[in-house]
């Protein structure tokens, strides 16, 4: 377990490394600004002194010598104009650095997300992952914007006050800073609690976002099941957690100032008490001594301000570090395994073969117990069987969403793990059981697998998938904007679209996992004619519960509890009168007799 500090150093070091000049320049501009801020009151003091002199001169000699005063005032104006520009430059430079590097963090986080395997997304809540893109990066951005200037400024002030104190009187200086450990300890205590609450708050916000996200996705389910009350209750309780954490954070953060002010008073009292005692001991002349005490009372107060400010800067840093840790957690996930010198294949010449494949999603729970399938090029293999028997799982392995535990899957004799992953997936097209659309136009969705495809190819794919006619009835046709949740499609139409999407990429190996389960049977029959043309010369795997769609398959594998229990053509299996024949008869008993 790396400490937060290490993570933050590594993380910010990585993202700030490209901008050394910007950072150096902003150190200079901050220094100019801080210098001006410190110097202006001094100049003002000068100006007042000079005016006093002018006035005295005037009263005494009726002469007016304004030149030194005017120089001072002019300097003051000039310095402030320069400082203003410097401040402006600081904000602009740091804002730019923060913006550009946060954007890079966002892009790299997304890129990392694209490299992680499927199983991570099955396990992780979308909302929590999404929060890393939003609130965590926001906190990092804010910190980069503020921390640098503030910490520099207040650290400078702290050093300044220390120098002034110790150059004026070492003994009193020591007395003034003697309570510092106590102050730091109290600060540290309060801030640890505050930041613990902040951490909690961030986690709670993540949970809340996840919840909202999920509830919005399942909005219809919520309404139709009368879940609005529980849904709102769920929101309220999560929101209450956020609120509680936020309040706790506020209370602790709110305590900081009063407590520190109290300490400051205490410190002042100590300075006065000790100073007076010191002077009364006869260590100093009474007049000078009391003047020193008076000055140190001011120093004591000036000295505490930076400490308070720096601790609150620390708070912002804490949030950013939490953010950095949460983002780093994603980066710590292993990438999908890609063989570095993977073989690139162009088409499938002999076929696909599964040999004694064993697989389980969770350790100790095996789902597939030794699957053997031989699918020569041009063959259509159908996988049938009860729900949950492992059909989708087999398909997940062909595409390497997951890797086999033991056994092997080969294409033209090469283990698919030895193939270049992109090449494998280019050659294996899959229509998933649950079609997912993306925000954009219908056209973009159809050419998802090949964004450069021309209109003719898009229309051709849509026609083959029997969805073209419907798209043409939409006012904007192929340019209709859709998102997954707000598509203008019925469930069956969505499936047809996802078939069109796969047809367009023209893969040598085609997997259709319940691809038409929501499509009406008339359309399905038309589609099948088109699909027969598409699958000709390809190796295809079909999963379907509607057995009618697979009777033509070259081989039907009946899967049950993760084992293939029967295998053969439709005629053979019907003749064997086993599990398949029963499934088939179950499906439409009376229709069959009517025929």
């Amino acid at each position: 377990m790396q400490s937060d500090f290490q993570i933050a150093r590594h993380y910010f070091g990585h993202y700030l490394k490209p901008y050394p000049w910007q950072l150096i320049i902003s150190v200079l501009t901050v220094a100019i600004y801080c210098g001006a801020a410190v110097y202006t009151p001094i100049l003002l003091g000068h100006a007042v002194t000079q005016l006093t002199t002018v006035l005295a001169e005037f009263r005494a000699h009726q002469t007016v010598v304004m030149a030194p005063f005017i120089r001072t005032a002019a300097t003051m104006i000039t310095i402030n104009v320069v400082a203003g520009f410097a401040d402006c430059a600081t904000s602009a430079i740091l804002g730019w650095v923060a913006g550009v590097s946060t954007s890079r963090m966002r892009s790299e986080l997304f890129a990392k997300m694209q490299r992680i395997g499927v199983s991570y997304f099955d396990r992780t809540e979308d909302g929590d992952l999404l929060a890393r893109f939003t609130s965590d990066l926001d906190n990092i951005f804010n910190a980069m914007n503020q921390v640098f200037v503030n910490s520099f400024y207040w650290f400078g002030s702290l050093i300044g006050v220390l120098i002034m104190m110790f150059s004026s009187n070492v003994m009193m200086g020591v007395v003034t800073i003697i309570t510092t450990p106590l102050a730091v300890l109290v600060c540290w205590f309060v801030i640890t609690h505050a930041s613990r609450a902040v951490n909690e708050q961030q986690r709670a916000v993540g949970a809340l976002n996840g919840y909202i996200n999920e509830q919005i996705t399942g909005q219809k389910v919520i309404i139709t099941n009368g879940l609005q009350q529980p849904s709102i209750a769920g929101f309220t309780s999560r929101n209450a957690t956020v609120l509680q954490a936020a309040q706790r954070g506020q209370i602790w953060a709110g305590m900081l100032m009063p407590v520190m002010s109290g300490l400051m008073l205490l410190n002042t009292a100590i300075v006065i008490f000790f100073g007076s005692w010191y002077v009364l001991q006869g260590n100093m002349a009474l007049g000078t001594g009391l003047a020193v005490v008076a000055v140190f009372v001011q120093y004591a107060q000036q000295y505490y301000q930076p400490i308070i400010q720096l601790t609150s800067v620390y708070n912002i840093i804490q949030q950013a570090v939490t953010g950095a840790r949460r983002v780093s957690e994603v980066f710590a996930q292993p990438d999908e395994v890609r063989s570095t010198d993977g073989k690139v294949i162009d088409g499938v010449h002999h076929g696909v073969k599964l040999t004694d494949v064993h697989f389980g999603y969770l350790p100790g729970v095996e789902i597939l117990h030794g699957i053997n399938i031989d699918a020569p090029r041009g063959h259509m293999v159908a996988l049938v069987g009860p729900t949950g028997s492992g059909k989708t799982t087999v398909m997940n392995l062909l595409n390497r969403f997951y890797d086999v535990d033991t056994g092997s899957i080969t294409i033209d004799g090469t283990d698919i793990r030895a193939l270049e992953l992109t090449s494998l997936r280019n050659n294996v097209g899959i229509v998933l059981q649950d079609p997912q659309l993306f925000s954009g136009t219908i056209r973009d969705n159809i050419r998802f697998g090949d964004p450069d495809a021309g209109d003719a190819a898009v229309i051709n794919a849509a026609q083959q998938a029997r969805i073209h006619d419907y798209i043409m009835t939409l006012p904007d046709g192929y340019d209709t904007l859709i998102t997954d949740e707000q598509s203008v499609f019925s469930a069956g139409q969505k499936q047809l679209l996802s078939i069109a999407r796969t047809i367009l990429t023209d893969p040598p190996v085609l997997i259709m996992d319940e691809a038409t389960s929501n499509v009406d049977t008339v359309t399905e029959a038309q589609l099948q004619a088109a699909m027969n043309a598409v699958t000709r010369g390809r190796t295809s795997f079909l999963i379907a519960h509607r057995l009618r769609t697979i009777v033509h398959a070259d081989e039907i594998d009946v899967l049950r509890h993760g084992t293939i229990i029967e295998r053969g053509t439709h005629a053979e299996l019907m003749a064997a009168n086993g599990f398949y024949a029963q499934l088939y008869r179950d499906q439409m008993p009376e229709l069959a007799t009517n025929a």
Binding site: L44, V48, L51, V54, L55, V64, M66, I70, I77, N80, A83, G84, D87, C88, G95, W96, V100, T102, S103, R106, S107, F110, Q114, V118, D122, E125, D126, L130, F133, T134, N213, E214, T224, N225, G226, E336, G385, T387, K391, N399, T422, R425, P435, Q436, S439, F448, G449, D484, F489, S490, N518, V519, D520, E524, H545, Y584, D586, M588, L591, A592
Partner: protein
């Protein structure tokens, strides 16, 4: 959305501040400054006008920026989210790079604008300070020049400078709150947008909660999706007696799911009425509707948690026995019993750890757990093998004979035993009768039937 709510919350806080602190500071400091050095009233006025104008200009400009950046943020989030949900699609099409390009484009727009906003602030804040400091400098210079005629001013220079800074802080706070407010108003507008979606539907929450029977009646129902011109359902009328089973078949896109959703009052019809248990849905307390009608949607959505937590969402007091009862009818018991934790088994995000048919059976279980008078199954057994589907139907008929069931299906075999079958085509009911009647007389039904006849002759 949480972001929007935060923005509004911050606005409320700052409004309180603005109302209490800022005007008092401003007026007080201004009065004191004028009292201290009355001659310089014009300088103060100039400062207030310049800062005020700059602040106003920025606020207006920022308003536009904030609206736009919120839009970009949404876009970035949408892309991130759909890439999580559709990770299998992206990977199987090798579109990681294309999606990255799409994301980076949106993220780039967001970056450019947020840097622009940063620049605006980078000019605004130091600009205000610079103006104030220059004003202080000029004031000192002017006072100095007339010091011989107004010696008293010497004593008040420091306090005058203090007042000028107070005025500046007040103005700056006001400007910040104003820019914050524009941001919050953008958010408020978005929240309002969400809230505005509902009001077309009014829910009589004070109406008594009734125990309705399962009778259904549709009278001339026409329905158009918001934003469309062509109605999806056209003049639909039919009646179902309590305890009957109604089948609905029809082509993809003919309006079956839309009809199912209307029965659960997800939408209201444009014209006509839907009655359940003899009452118009629009006059019923929503709780009566939820008690009476359970719709199992075509796309099963389960929430992450456990199986039990999903079921208890519908019926908080459901005992294990209740859950077993419902799971048994839905044929879910078969695989739930295999899980070591049974009803406490975890449900992952998107229920990814269950197969398609398992998800559907869990959804049906959830539909049954409340023991509704009307159960609508919208293609809810499409991912089930024929056997499991048959068992579900048999169990429904055996244990819940008194329940009205509306079964939407693509397979005739799923509905052929229904008391009546509706045939839908392009949003109209084109047939209504028993399987035998329709098979004999209805053209559309016959076409569907033909497409499903067992191809014994082929095999």
């Amino acid at each position: 959305m949480t972001n929007d709510i935060n923005q509004v919350q911050m606005l409320v806080m700052s409004i309180l501040q603005i109302v209490l602190r800022v005007p008092i500071t401003f007026a007080g400091a201004l009065a004191l400054a004028l009292l201290a050095i009355p001659d310089l009233w014009w300088l103060l006025l100039a400062m207030i006008v310049v800062i005020g104008a700059l602040g106003a200009f920025m606020t207006v400009k920022m308003g536009g920026y904030f609206g736009k950046i919120q839009h970009y943020i949404d876009e970035v989030n949408t892309i991130a989210r759909e890439n999580m949900m559709g990770v299998r699609v992206v990977k199987s099409f090798n579109q990681e790079n294309a999606q990255m390009a799409k994301f980076n484009h949106a993220s780039g727009l967001m970056e450019t604008l947020s840097i622009k906003i940063g620049y605006a602030f980078a000019v605004m804040v130091p600009g205000f300070f610079m103006i104030a400091n220059v004003v202080v400098g000029v004031a000192v210079l002017l006072i100095g020049n007339q010091i011989t005629s107004h010696p008293a001013y010497l004593a008040v220079i420091s306090s005058f400078v203090g007042y000028v800074l107070q005025i500046l802080y007040a103005l700056m706070n006001a400007a910040f709150i104003a820019t914050g407010a524009t941001r919050a108003f953008v958010s408020l507008g978005r929240i309002g947008e969400v809230l505005r979606h509902a009001p077309s539907m009014l829910f009589p929450n004070r109406a008594p909660v009734l125990n309705l029977d399962g009778g259904i009646e549709l009278r001339n129902v026409t329905f158009t999706y918001p934003g469309d011109d062509e109605p999806v359902l056209k003049n639909i009328s039919f009646k179902v007696q309590p305890g009957e089973m109604l089948g609905i078949v029809g082509a993809t896109g003919s309006g079956k799911s839309t009809l199912a959703q209307l029965l659960g009052r997800l939408f209201d019809p444009d014209t006509g009425a839907i009655l359940v248990g003899g009452h118009d849905l629009r006059e019923l307390n929503p709780r009566s509707i939820r008690k009476a009608v359970a719709v199992v949607l075509q796309r099963s959505t389960l929430f992450s948690g456990t199986i039990a937590s999903n079921l208890r969402q519908v019926r908080p007091d459901a005992t294990v026995a209740d859950m077993e009862w419902a799971a048994k009818i839905a044929q879910a018991a078969e695989f739930i019993d295999q899980l070591p934790e049974r009803f406490d088994a975890p449900v992952d995000e998107r229920a990814a750890n269950f197969s398609g048919g398992q998800k559907q059976r869990l959804s049906i279980t959830r539909g049954l757990i409340g023991q509704p008078a009307v159960l609508v199954l919208d293609d809810a057994t499409s991912a089930l093998d024929a056997r499991s589907e048959k068992r579900v139907q048999e169990a429904l008929a055996r244990d819940l004979g008194h329940m009205t069931t509306v079964i939407i299906a693509e397979k005739i075999s799923s509905v052929m035993h229904a008391d009546r079958i509706l045939v839908m085509d392009h949003g109209r009911v084109v047939g209504n009768g028993t399987h035998a009647e329709l098979a004999a007389t209805n053209r559309v039904y016959q076409t569907i039937l033909d497409s499903q006849r067992n191809t014994e002759e082929v095999g």
